[in-house]
Structure formats: C-alpha cells, structure tokens
C-alpha cells in the first residue's frame, strides 16, 4: 500500500525529468558519443561544450540579447500595466468591462499573425534587428496579461486603503508609490514572472525581427549543423543553459507565485 502511494508521483516525476536529464546527459558528451553509442550517463565526460558557449561570442551574445530584450519587455509591460490595472480596479468608466475583455483578446491571435506587420513596420522605421523591437513586440501579449494579473491583485486590496492614506495625509502619487506598490508586491512579482517567461520562450517574433545584432539564443540554437558538422553536444549545452534563467526566476518568486495564484487571477 505504502509503495503504491509513491508509485504514481514517482513515475510522473521521472516522466517529467527524463527529457531534462537526457539534455543534461548529452551536454557532457561529445557528438561522436551521442551519435555512436547509447549510454545513460556520459562515458567520456567533457566540459568542452560549455567552454565553447562561454568563449564564442556567436553563442554567448545570444544569451545577452535574449536577456536584454526580456528585461526591457518586463520593465515596460509592468510599468505600463500598473496604472492601467489601477484604473480598471478602482474606477468605473464608460466601456470599462468591454475594454478589459478586449485586452485579453489580444492574446487570442497566434504571434505568427503579427510577424509580418511587425517586420514591415520595424523595417520601415529602422528598428529592425534591435532589442527594443522585440521588447515592444512582446508587449502586445504581455501588457494585457500583466493588466489582468495586477487587476486581480489590486481588487483584493480594499479601496479603504487608498482612502485611509488620503485621510492620513498622503497625496495620490505618494500613496501609489510608497504604500500601494509595496502592498501588491506579490502581484507585481507574479506579473513580472509571467512577462519574463513569455518573452523568454517566444521564438517566432524574436527570430523574425532580428538578424545578427539582437539575435536571441533560441534562434541561435535552431542551427543544428555548422561547418564542423553536427554539434549535438554543443546544442544540448546551450539548451541546458537556456533552462537556467527560468529556473532562477521561478526560485525568486516561488512564494509569490503560490500566493499569486490564490489572490490574483491568471
């Protein structure tokens, strides 16, 4: 009985972890070993793949580019969404409910729909192949999401908090920055996390809008073969490193996420 209780979760976790383990496993092998033999762990353990990524600018620039536009996007999305969400949660105005819903419909179209207009537009105004281009393009999806998450959190804060702050002598902006933002810090954490994750995994727009100078890591990884032939070990190492930022961010907002799912809505 006791074994049965553990069996299903164990199987599930093994099932989830297997691809990640296999990726990690491959990243410490050389390409010959990957192609030639089947082994559950690296027989000829090597760090050469990682060394290559950290020393070759065509690889590590991919990471830097990705992180640059992801951070830009997160900052823009959250700072634009904060006042918008405040307005939706605190004021009633003509068409507020429709507008709020319309925001969400922006997420209903696949990014591919926007690839062409963005490409054309950014080429025309000279933003093509810049970090800002990708950051702005991702805002189309992330701002609505951030507004929804933040509105949920803000509506959980009673309106009386605002009123008390005015009674206690704070102006609106001082209240907003000094009291309101710290109060919904968890919501901001969750919203930032979702923006970060979306922007980090999105490939199509990021790839379409960049060529060299702002090329994201995910795009770099799509080239499976180079002049040196297949570089599977190298790709595996790059993949492993791509998982790291996500895991890192999740670790920091882990307490907020639990609270966030309960309080706000996603």
């Amino acid at each position: 009985m006791r074994i049965h209780k553990w069996l299903v979760p164990t199987l599930y976790i093994v099932f989830l972890m297997l691809p990640i383990y296999w990726l990690l496993n491959m990243s410490f092998k050389n390409t010959n070993e990957i192609l030639g033999t089947f082994s559950l762990w690296p027989l000829d353990f090597t760090l050469a793949n990682y060394r290559k990524i950290f020393t070759d600018p065509t690889w590590y620039n991919g990471y830097l580019n990705s992180i640059t536009y992801v951070v830009m996007n997160t900052v823009i999305s959250v700072s634009v969404a904060l006042p918008a969400a405040y307005a939706f949660s605190r004021y009633r105005f003509l068409g507020d409910k429709h507008l709020f819903f319309w925001l969400l419909t922006n997420r209903m179209a696949p990014p591919a729909v926007f690839a062409l207009p963005f490409f054309q537009l950014y080429s025309a105004i000279g933003l093509f192949d810049t970090h800002v281009a990708v950051a702005l393009a991702h805002c189309l999806f992330n701002i609505p999401l951030a507004v929804w998450i933040l509105e949920g959190f803000m509506s959980g804060v009673p309106k009386e908090l605002d009123e008390t702050a005015y009674l206690d002598g704070y102006s609106f902006w001082r209240f907003f920055v000094k009291i309101f933002i710290p109060t919904i810090a968890a919501g901001i954490g969750v919203a930032a996390f979702f923006c970060f994750m979306y922007s980090w995994v999105e490939l199509l727009l990021a790839k379409t809008l960049t060529s060299v100078a702002a090329k994201p890591i995910a795009a770099t990884m799509t080239r499976t073969a180079s002049t040196a032939g297949y570089e599977l070990g190298l790709l595996a190492a790059a993949g492993t490193l791509t998982i790291v930022p996500g895991a890192f961010v999740i670790y920091f907002v882990r307490n907020y996420i639990a609270k966030g799912f309960a309080l706000g809505r996603v």
Binding site: P158, E163, T164, Y166, L167, D168, G169, T183, A185
Partner: protein, 355 residues
C-alpha cells in the same frame, strides 16, 4: 476641532439623476457641534457611509455645501480637511510595523519624532497594543488590525472630527464592549468631535449624546436617546429603536376620532392628519400597552418570558401587538382586553408624526 454643517446636501451615484429615487442622499441639513459625540444610526444602505464620505471629502456631493466652522470645504481634498476616519474593515499598511502604522498620520504632518513616540505609546497603551508595537502589521489577527485602524484614527489630537464607520463589526463581543467604553472615555478626555456610524441601536445609544437616525437617504430624526425613545418623529424611528420596536397599527380618523379596527383610541396627538394622507397609523411602544378591562378584546398569540418582564404578543383582527408585562402582573386567561396609554400614543400620517 470644528463645528460641521451640511447645507442641503444631496448626492447621487448616477451621472444624471432625475428621479428622487436616483439619490442616495435625498437632502441632508445637519449640524454637528464641536466636541459632540454623535451616532449615525440606520439600516444598511440608507446612506450613512455616503454621508461620512462626503464629510471626509472622499466624495463630492452632487448638490449642497459642507462647512467646517462656517468655512466652505466642499471642494477641499481629503488630505487638507484634517479628518480621521475608521472603516468597517481593518485597513493597515501591511508593509509597516504596528508602531509605524500608528505613527504614520503624525509623521505625515511633520510632527517631531519625540512627540510621535509619546502619542503612539499613549494610544498603544489605551488599546493594549504595547506588546506588538515592533511586530509587522500583516501578521496580526483581524481584531488586532482593527485596533490599529482605531489607533490611527485617534492618534492625532488636531483633527476636526473622527468618524467611525461601523468600526466594531469585526471585533468579538467582549472586546467590543471594552473598546466602546474606551472610545467613550477618550471622547470625554480629549473632547474631540466624534461621529459613530452603526446599525446597532445599543451601540448608538450607549456611545452618543446625540443620535441621528437615517432612513432611505434622509435624516428622519436627531435627538438624545431619550427623545428618540419617547417621541419618535417617524414610524421608522419608533420601529428601529427599542426592543421590541414600537407597534404601528393602521387606523382611521373620522371627525377627529381615531379608531383602530372599530375601537376608539385616545392619543397624545392634538392635530389631525391632512385629508390627503395616504396612510394613517397609530404608534405605541410595547411599554405603554397594558391589559385593561375597559379596553378592546384581543387574543393572546404568545408569551416570551424574559425574567424581569414578559413580552406578550396579542392579536386583534389581523394586527399583532406586542406588549411588555412586568413579572408581577398576571396575564388574564379569559377574554383579555388591552388599552394604550394615551400620553404615549401618537398618530402617524405617511410615516411622519402628527403632533
């Protein structure tokens, strides 16, 4: 501290109110004397909170003026009105400690830190919060948080008025009693104007010198608890205040004689309702109904024994009348007859008293 006057204040939450029903506050003229302890009593949804928010400036009334010491403040923002308000549910700044929460209104007004320390310690002492001053406010229980809200309302001594919007709803009954006595004591000591909103008559009658009863967006009566009890101006006041409330019985008035289901009733009202009154009633408190062999016949429905007295519910035609009978008086078992004390029976036309 200030005298607060409301002049012809009307408020509607709609953009373009047309009907009188569109107004949450129909028309309020009221004066709150400096240093008074007022209770604002009324059922949920009668406009009490709206009225408070107008005084504190969180709402700007659709029509009318708000005056502090005869200065028009209708358009002055909340921050500059020097008002403290405590809401129904606790509002604390979760990110600050209890001490910082209490000190917050003082520090915002640039009060010297030594004075802040002194005031906060004093208020914390009164509310039994000394031991949790260093703690973060977010970890406290609901009543702990509400005590902070109360403390933050009380901490400034230069406010024009302190308004309490049903502040003790979330507090458990024992502590409620204590806190109410504390507030009363503070009022005596500091002489601040306090307005206490509640729908609980015991709370209103024990706290306030003057009770303002609101019903359906208007002030139906303002007076001392005794006045409200003895001379209700409106059937609502009679019914709402007192336990059990006043008996309201339909009656006919013909040639100056008042009849209830065919029986002539003597009343204290010397006037008579206007001919166009849609509804005429008499009101008499259960305390002033007694068994009387010369009265009119009724049927006893039920008797609740409350120890020192009994509440007897009797019936005539399809009307029910409650009466309070002392424990030493017998309840007649056969053909009971009741009469009303003429001095405490009044005529009400369309709800309003006829004197």
């Amino acid at each position: 501290m200030a005298k607060i006057s409301l002049e012809k204040v009307k408020h509607s939450y709609l953009a373009q109110p047309a009907e009188p029903e569109d107004y949450a506050l129909k028309q309020i003229d009221a004066e709150w004397q400096d240093g008074g302890a007022y209770a604002l009593l009324g059922p949920s949804g009668c406009g009490k909170t709206t009225l408070l928010n107008i005084i504190s400036g969180l709402l700007v009334p659709s029509l009318g003026r708000v005056l502090f010491n005869d200065t028009d403040v209708t358009k002055i923002p909340t921050t500059d009105r020097h008002i403290a308000q405590v809401f129904q549910f606790p509002v604390v700044y979760d990110t600050m400690s209890v001490f910082d929460n209490l000190a917050f209104p003082l520090r915002n007004r640039g009060i010297a830190e030594a004075k802040v320390q002194e005031r906060v310690q004093e208020i914390a002492g009164m509310l039994d919060l000394e031991h949790s001053l260093r703690r973060r406010a977010s970890g406290l229980t609901v009543d702990g948080k509400q005590k902070i809200s109360l403390g933050r309302g009380l901490v400034r001594d230069d406010v024009n008025v302190i308004m309490f919007d049903e502040p003790l709803t979330v507090i458990d009954p024992h502590l409620k009693w204590q806190l109410r006595s504390k507030l009363k004591e503070l009022h005596k000591r500091l002489g601040l104007t306090m307005i206490y909103v509640t729908h609980d008559q015991t709370e209103a009658l024990t706290f306030a010198d003057q009770v303002v009863v609101m019903y359906d967006g208007t002030v139906v009566q303002a007076g001392t608890p005794v006045e409200l009890f003895e001379h209700p101006n409106h059937t609502f006041v009679g019914h709402f205040i007192g336990s059990p409330g006043m008996n309201i019985l339909p009656c006919e008035v013909e040639n100056g004689t008042v009849r209830c289901a065919g029986h002539t009733v003597q009343t204290a009202s010397s006037g008579r309702p206007r001919a166009d009154a849609r509804k005429t009633e008499i009101g008499v408190r259960p305390e002033f109904v007694r068994f009387d062999d010369h009265g009119f016949p009724v049927e006893i429905v039920k008797v609740d024994d409350l120890g020192r007295y009994r509440i007897v519910e009797v019936r005539y035609a399809d009307q029910r009348v409650k009466m309070i009978v002392n424990e030493d008086l017998a309840i007649p078992s056969e053909t009971p007859r009741i009469s009303f004390d003429p001095a405490a029976t009044r005529i009400y036309a369309d709800g309003w008293v006829v004197n």
